[in-house]
Symmetry: C2
Subunit: 207 residues, 2 copies
Amino acid sequence: MDDDVLRRGRPTCHVEYDEATALLVGDSLQSLAFQVLSDQPLADDPRVQLDMIRRLAVASGSRGMAGGQAIDLSSVDRTLSVPELEVMHIHKTGALIRAAVLLGASCGSGIEPSELARLDAFAKQAGLAFQVVDDVLDASASTAVLGKTAGKDAKDNKPTYVSIMGTTAAAAFARDLQRGALESLSPLGSRAARLGQVVAYIVERSY
Amino acid sequence: MDDDVLRRGRPTCHVEYDEATALLVGDSLQSLAFQVLSDQPLADDPRVQLDMIRRLAVASGSRGMAGGQAIDLSSVDRTLSVPELEVMHIHKTGALIRAAVLLGASCGSGIEPSELARLDAFAKQAGLAFQVVDDVLDASASTAVLGKTAGKDAKDNKPTYVSIMGTTAAAAFARDLQRGALESLSPLGSRAARLGQVVAYIVERSY
């Protein structure tokens, strides 16, 4: 963790304060998410809200973010295949991105179950695109542009899309994922325009 | 954390595996608690369940366990007064013990608001008694009896009820808290018999 010292150009919490404080802040923010989801009505039916909480809990836990992080830790110094890398990212960051999209949709109104499935397919591809682009930027941008420590993955000997398929193929893969994400949204028409902008931002960002 | 190697006579998770794994297991179990509270009906009214979730979230977060742990970290090598020590423990372990009692009561039936206040007063005193007894045992029992590393608080230069008031006064304080906890329960009669047994176990245990 020692090299992971910048985010958005500022020192990370564990550098600015210390590791124990950073961990406690993370724990507190995770509790706060559940507090926000439970302390006032977010949907006409309170059972919808319980379903949103369940979704976030599953996405954060051993079958989501925490599980993905465990796969990540066990992958250092190993060679992964593209499907293995995908399994890691689908858990580590993808599950929360999917939850974010589906939680918003759940407390909205007039969304059909078939549309929820479309939104989930969108979020899965957009989440993976985020990670692929992260790997490309880590390998190609400078720390100054990135606002976080560049070149960290190679230094840590972590498998990435760049280390497995090379920068050019990884960048093309990100654009494929963007296209797939947009296709998933197409039946939703203009109601999903903002989500299309989100995936464009994810893929086209330079930091 | 390095000396904290035993719990119930077995190696702690971060010793048996490693610190990152122990942290991820903790994160996963915390998520699992919210999943359990949301994935099936626990009360006739789903809003009761949302209230239970809110209670657990607050008790775990910056105003509960995580906040208490932060106070604990900032207390090493400092001298605390008894009220300061109490503030730390009420957050660090007390909030979750209170939540445990109140969550059980919330999804039970036929409990009056005035009885909930009684249960809360019970839990607050029982939770503090737990901590006072923990401090007494850490100072007086052996590692073999305790099943966790004894003498750790003094070695870590952490303020405890024993370091502040001495073993005899701390043990008497624990019995006062037990008495107060039982008095809080008295209007509930035999319905609260098991809770009376819990505080007796907390104060009379030898490990």
